[in-house]
Amino acid sequence: MSAHSRPRGLVPHLPFAWPALMLGCFFLVPFAIMVVVSFFHRPESGVGTYEVGFEFTHYLRFFSPLFARHILITIEFAAVAALLSVLVGFPFTYFLSRFRRRPQVLALVFILCVLSLSEVIVAYSWSVLLSRSAGISNFFVWLGLLAKPASWTPGYGAVLFGLTYFNLPFAVLIMYPQCTRLDTEITEAARTLGASPLRTFFTVVVPMLWPTIMTAAIVLFVFTMGAFVTPQWLGRPQHWMFAILISDQALTRGNLPFASALSMFFMAITLALVALTVRLGRRKIER
């Protein structure tokens, strides 16, 4: 078998057909519908309906302070949460990849369990943890750090904590493969050249794994952009992120064209920011 032979005839293409059909019909078609519907007309009375048409009305509605505020807070939360989770997640993942086998497997099982937790459960458990009656503030009172139990939710910090927590296991799993691939001899070489463990970490490990760190940050950023449950529960209305607006338009108000237009806009913003980050990240490497 040559590695790069071309499939000839119908039979070799059979494994291609089914995935292409499924992804085409049920992933690409929905996008096409969304693009088209975002230009459709919405009748005054119809909930969840639309009429064929071509208008920019929905796109023009973005230019209001309300949407600007929400898109900004969305970007802010996504960026800060992605940054925080990479900041904590990277050293953790790197150390994890240097663990001996048994502790490493145990830690991975633990991370997978946390990762699989529903956003609903994460938001819920943080709301408990930050609540007055059952929360961590009771523990601080017991320690004598706090005079009386406090409620820290809803609030900006609570949203940020929740999002970071939700991201952290993803950060670990994204960076894990490349971390394991860093040859120990590389860091040992730095040690023999007189670099302390901390110096080695910052002058060898971080620069070598910089692309991985960037990838994780970008993926998490995109991920967090779509956060829905966390800001709704742990935040006040001014902390609501964009996904809530889209869902509100689509499900509660039944304005599908506008929800589609919001999604297109949202997607464009996300992609633009990702492209920007990739550019900046690359420049950092070249330096």
Binding site: E185, E188, R191, T192, L193, G194, A195, R199
Partner: protein, 351 residues
């Protein structure tokens, strides 16, 4: 001058003992090889010296200073790793001067120093290149330059040449040796290539599983191996089961052989091993009986160009004789011959 001393150093990995109670006294300024079969603990021993592993017990002493607990980055050693471990994110000159940057040397000085070091390893003009743009041999030189940049007290190399082709390897051996002589730096190289160890070093440390078998200059190790293991491992040797008769005679099967000496304390009847190098085994025409000779038969002849190998069978014993083509005995497979083991070439060791 005091050099490097290992005092009863052991290293265990769980149930496995990689290095067992090793005592070594290595003089400063010498070129030393750790030689032994795969898995015997050479790398572990080197890493113990570098501080990349902590001994389970024992001490490492460098220039009369106990450095057992000193972390690697404070030991001032230069090391060339088996994988070379060059930093892929840095170009050549930044790789070489990584250690100098850690010490805060200004960029311009570092740049100049990189040039000197590259000159020293005979690879000038590649300062700005990426590691990926270098050939295997060039990377080798960069790794050596990087290890020497800090003028270390100890220069450690773990099978640095094993990835190179035969010709380049020989070149690098010569160069490394010349470099070491010029700098006078204590150098330890790990290898399982005995030819490499023999031709390069002042001192060879032969290891078998977890233990040091013998330490000595190459010729001494070659001429008088301390144990059967060393005799077998260093070059191919004929190892013959023998019994002690008196301090200058051993018995092999029915015949008695005079030998220069037997191991100290060996008494009559003790089981010993007589070792003799294939090139010291002489093959004579059949019938020339004399002392230290055995009748035998040629079972196979292998002509390898530079030498001729005769495989001999003398009753129960099997021997190999090697001779230069010009001294080639007139022998064909199946011929009866007389095999001589000259007394002065026999080395008797404990079994």
């Amino acid at each position: 001058m005091p050099g490097l001393e290992l005092r009863s150093v052991s290293k265990r990995f769980g149930p496995l003992t990689a290095v067992e109670a090793v005592n070594l006294d290595l003089p400063a300024g010498k070129f030393i090889s750790f030689l032994g079969p795969s898995g015997c603990g050479k790398t572990t021993l080197l890493r113990l010296i570098a501080g990349l592993e902590t001994p389970s017990s024992g001490q490492v002493v460098l220039e009369d200073r106990d450095i057992t607990a000193l972390p690697t980055h404070q030991r001032n050693i230069g090391m060339v790793f088996q994988s070379l471990a060059l930093f892929p994110h840095l170009n050549v000159w930044n790789n070489i001067t990584y250690g100098l940057r850690i010490r805060g040397m200004p960029q311009a000085d570092r740049r100049r120093r990189a040039g000197e070091l590259l000159e020293m390893v005979r690879l000038p003009g590649v300062e700005e290149r990426d590691i990926k743009q270098l050939s295997g041999g060039q990377r080798q030189r960069v790794a050596i330059a990087r290890a020497l940049a800090l003028e270390p007290t100890l220069f450690l190399l773990d099978e640095p040449l094993s990835a190179l082709d035969a010709k380049l390897r020989e070149e690098m051996q010569v160069e490394l040796r010349m470099l070491q002589e010029r700098l006078g730096i204590t150098t330890i190289i790990v290898t399982h290539d005995q030819r490499e160890a023999m031709t390069m070093s002042d001192l060879v440390v032969v290891m078998s599983t977890a233990e040091v078998q013998q330490v000595g200059p190459p010729l001494e190790i070659y001429r008088s191996p301390a144990t059967a293991f060393v005799a077998d491992f260093i070059g191919s040797s004929n190892l013959l089961d023998a019994q002690c008769v008196d301090p200058s005679t051993v018995r092999i099967g029915e015949s008695e052989f005079s030998v220069p000496s037997v191991p100290e304390g060996a008494r009559s009847g003790d089981a010993l091993t007589l070792t003799i190098r294939p090139e010291d085994v002489h093959v004579l025409p059949s019938g020339d009986t004399a002392s230290n000779r055995l009748p035998g038969r040629v079972s196979f002849v292998r002509d390898v160009g530079a030498s001729v190998e005769l495989f001999l069978r003398c009753g129960e014993l099997e021997l190999i004789s090697i001779s230069a083509p010009k001294d080639r005995p007139e022998a064909r497979p199946g011929d009866d011959v007389m095999v001589e083991l000259p007394a002065e070439s026999c080395v008797v060791v404990r079994r």
